[in-house]
């Protein structure tokens, strides 16, 4: 398949874009990465995702697929014969994987943003507590789902590894910022080891953003989040 048949509109710091990249790598799909300029949205992005105007957008034969988790499922379905399955074959296990991925997006990620956008120490502490609570739930889920193997997907990286793992760079940035170990031996031993295995995986290691570079970039994000929080309510 020609490289230009598959394009990904994204930006290097985005955990959502990272999910799509990892999935494409797992399936050994060659693609063209169309990097968005930070702070502005290209015509192509606006045209390809008119509803949400957000990245990532996967363009396959110029047809757009939006929303990172939907993109990951699409990649699995189109390139099913390449590499191991990203989703479990059992319907119940799939439902569990989708449940936790939705949890990461709807509950855990907003708490992570809460840390970055916190206006003062008290707010930051509260947000950190929320993130830690979420990690405790995810640790429990990991113990159940991985069944003693390295990943949520078992021996291979799967849907939930990708969904949660997309945030690993940011998790490390936040740990660095606050001098806290959100993933640690006492509270999250499983996830602690999982993080190292995930980061070292061939489909991940070349696309996982460098923590220091991400930390520099986080200053831009923090300023934006704080400005948004300080703006008068609509």
């Amino acid at each position: 398949m020609a490289k230009s048949d598959v394009k990904l509109i994204g930006a290097w710091p985005s955990p959502f874009v990272l999910r799509a990249q990892i999935a494409l790598n797992l399936k050994s799909v060659e693609y063209e990465f169309l990097e968005e300029a930070l702070g502005s949205k290209s015509e192509l992005l606006l045209k390809s995702n008119p509803v949400h105007k957000k990245m990532p957008v996967l363009l396959h034969h110029d047809k757009p697929i939006c929303e990172s988790l939907i993109i990951v499922e699409y990649i699995q379905e189109v390139w099913a014969s390449s590499g191991p399955s990203i989703l479990p074959s059992d319907p119940y296990e799939r439902a569990i994987a989708r449940f936790w991925a939705a949890y990461v997006d709807e509950k855990w990620f907003p708490a992570m943003k809460g840390i970055l956008g916190a206006q003062d120490d008290e707010a930051r502490k509260a947000a950190v507590a929320q993130v830690a609570e979420g990690l405790a739930l995810l640790e429990e889920a990991f113990q159940k789902i991985s069944k003693g193997k390295s990943f949520f997907g078992g021996d291979h990286i799967g849907y939930l590894d990708i969904a949660f793992g997309g945030f690993l760079g940011w998790l490390r940035v936040i740990e660095g910022m606050g001098g806290i170990k959100l993933l640690n031996e006492t509270e999250t031993p499983g996830l602690l080891k999982w993080a190292d295995d995930f980061a070292a995986h061939p489909a991940v290691k070349d696309v996982l953003p460098d923590t220091e570079k991400l930390a520099e970039f986080s200053k831009v994000v923090i300023a934006k989040l704080r400005a948004a929080a300080a703006a008068p309510a609509k």
């Binding site: 396959h60 697929i65 929303e67 939907i70 699409y74 799939r94 439902a95 989708r98 449940f99 939705a102």
Partner: protein, 220 residues
């Protein structure tokens, strides 16, 4: 093999209704248990400890949570029963999932804002819900259902909001049909299906319930 299917729900919840419609479409028998939301059962709390919300599908003792997720599970677990909710084509599948995700992100909030706010805020909520419904109407186009000829994933996840429209329209003092005639025609078409008409409650009862909720939430 004797199969045990239990649904924990709430009669006025459009999300719980999705599960019932999906099970009816697959001809799956189940036991429905109504939850009293201010007094959640220990079963609900045990089966959905993370969110403590309905609906929950319990299949042979194992819980599945989050309504759109449950509908997908029903499609996959009973794939031998009747047509698939999701199209076969991966691109069409992705589109169906996209629109259900859109509905989940936008529609409930917009509707809720109509009956929990007044004045300018309420006007904004009305405008928003019409924009959302118009967008969905555009996506439907001239198809019989969102799924084409067959009632599918988007249809199931959207149709259950219909019983709340009388509530939105009465409290908001506006008519959805005027702005979205094709979408209303689609809703009415879906109501001809037994799986839908047997599931959705009387819109008047939903309206009365909403008036009660308004008092409960202290909305004037």
């Amino acid at each position: 093999m004797a199969e045990e299917v239990v649904v924990l729900g709430f009669w006025a919840s459009m999300f719980a209704m999705r599960v019932k419609v999906a099970l009816a479409e697959k001809g799956v028998e189940y036991e429905y248990r109504e939850e009293d939301l201010p007094n959640k059962t220990s079963l609900l709390l045990e089966m959905n400890p993370v969110h403590k919300k309905i609906p929950v599908l319990i299949h042979n003792g194992k819980p599945v949570c989050e309504s759109a997720n449950i509908v997908q599970y029903i499609d996959e677990a009973w794939k031998d029963r009747g047509p698939s909710f999701l199209p076969c084509d991966p691109y069409q599948k992705a589109q169906a999932r996209f629109w259900v995700d859109y509905i989940d992100k936008k529609l409930y909030e917009a509707g809720k804002n109509i009956w929990t706010t007044k004045g300018e805020e309420q006007e904004a909520a009305k405008k928003e819900i019409l924009e959302i419904l118009k967008l969905l109407e555009g996506e439907l186009g001239d198809k019989t259902y969102f799924g084409g000829e067959s009632f599918g994933f988007v249809d199931i996840n959207l149709v259950t909001f219909y019983c709340w429209f009388l509530t939105y329209e009465t409290i908001g003092n506006f008519r959805i049909e005027a702005e979205c005639p094709k979408l209303i025609a689609w809703f009415k078409r879906c109501m001809l299906k037994e799986s839908v008409s047997q599931t959705l409650p009387d819109p008047k009862k939903v309206y009365e319930f909403c008036l009660f909720l308004q008092k409960y939430f202290g909305v004037e």
